[in-house]
Symmetry: C2
Subunit: 201 residues, 2 copies
């Protein structure tokens, strides 16, 4: 159960998914979102148009190409932080880890963010994905702090703030042509938050 790195079947699926995502990114970068059809993407990735929808529920999802397991991994990382850390500290540490991972593949995230930022529909889909992520994260925060998500403001707020922090950091990374170190940007952002968002200067 839950194999770490398995046989041919699993690897092929990952490869196909990755090929579809990359094909979508490249085609949209070349021509723009509206000039690219699902058929185009499937053709470049060497699968049938019908197979495309076995991997992504929509065209825009293939462009954004987020890992559907990412929210769950984020939750696990958060819950396994040392118990003496405050929720904010733990969340911040998880964000820094995530940032470090994103920085590792020096090609994928910059390409992704560049394409996404140029297309409002993709930006919208990304915002929606962050929103979904927030919900499972809020549940985890509620679990850790012993508060109820509906009743208390804290869990949903911290989840929302964490998502905003990551989005802000990613956007600054992009705006600076990916020359800065993403984990550093994340740290700066969380410094502002911990201080209660003091006015600049």
């Amino acid at each position: 159960m839950v194999p770490m790195s398995t046989g041919l079947r699993e690897r092929k699926k990952l490869a196909t998914r990755s090929a579809l995502h990359l094909a979508a990114l490249q085609l949209v970068a070349e021509r723009g979102l509206d000039e690219v059809s699902v058929d185009d993407i499937a053709e470049r990735a060497d699968v049938s148009p019908r197979t495309f929808f076995n991997y992504f529920p929509s065209k825009i999802d293939a462009v954004v190409g987020l890992d559907p397991a990412a929210p769950q991994r984020q939750v696990e990382a958060f819950l396994s932080r040392p118990a003496d850390e405050s929720p904010v500290e733990a969340m911040r540490a998880v964000a820094r880890e995530q940032a470090a991972e994103m920085s590792e593949n020096t090609e994928l995230w910059p390409l992704r963010l560049t394409v996404i930022d140029a297309h409002p529909a993709a930006l919208a889909r990304l915002a929606a994905a962050f929103g979904e992520s927030e919900q499972v994260l809020a549940a985890a925060i509620g679990e850790r702090t012993g508060t109820r998500v509906g009743a208390d403001a804290y869990p949903a707020l911290l989840a929302g703030v964490a998502a905003a922090a990551m989005r802000t950091s990613l956007h600054r990374w992009f705006a600076g042509d990916f020359t800065a170190a993403l984990p550093d940007l994340v740290d700066e952002t969380w410094d502002l938050l911990a201080a209660g968002l003091p006015a600049p200067r």
Copy 2:
């Protein structure tokens, strides 16, 4: 130019838009999102299916039914706050005003939020709308604080945090069956933010 409350033409357009939005809300509340087609919505609102798309770019937009001018009004409210207020104070005041407005019509927002919360696609669209709103708001914050949106983290972060605060407050309002006063929920949320998100208890 820019008439406050104008002739028959303007009023009819607003009425049609409102009728389409309400029809979408009611139908989706009755049957669920996938059992409602654009044709159904147009029929209940007594316009042709083609006219539907003169008012909303997609079915889900009709369900969510947000005012496309809202982000701009938010920006204007923010920029016209007294100059001695800090950005956080100004943003918080704007949020409280918005909350008060939303509470005024005791039918619309509760129905909206109930329908939206029951349908992930609508929730995603709402998250995307908040994201769009953040962008223009960030520009305004940058203007007020004299910082550059791409270079400095502050404007985008405060905009993102403000959006998270509003979403959190709306969700708590909904979770408590709309018995609480929304402006109070907003205040509590901003208290947490200003204190740097201290751990509960």
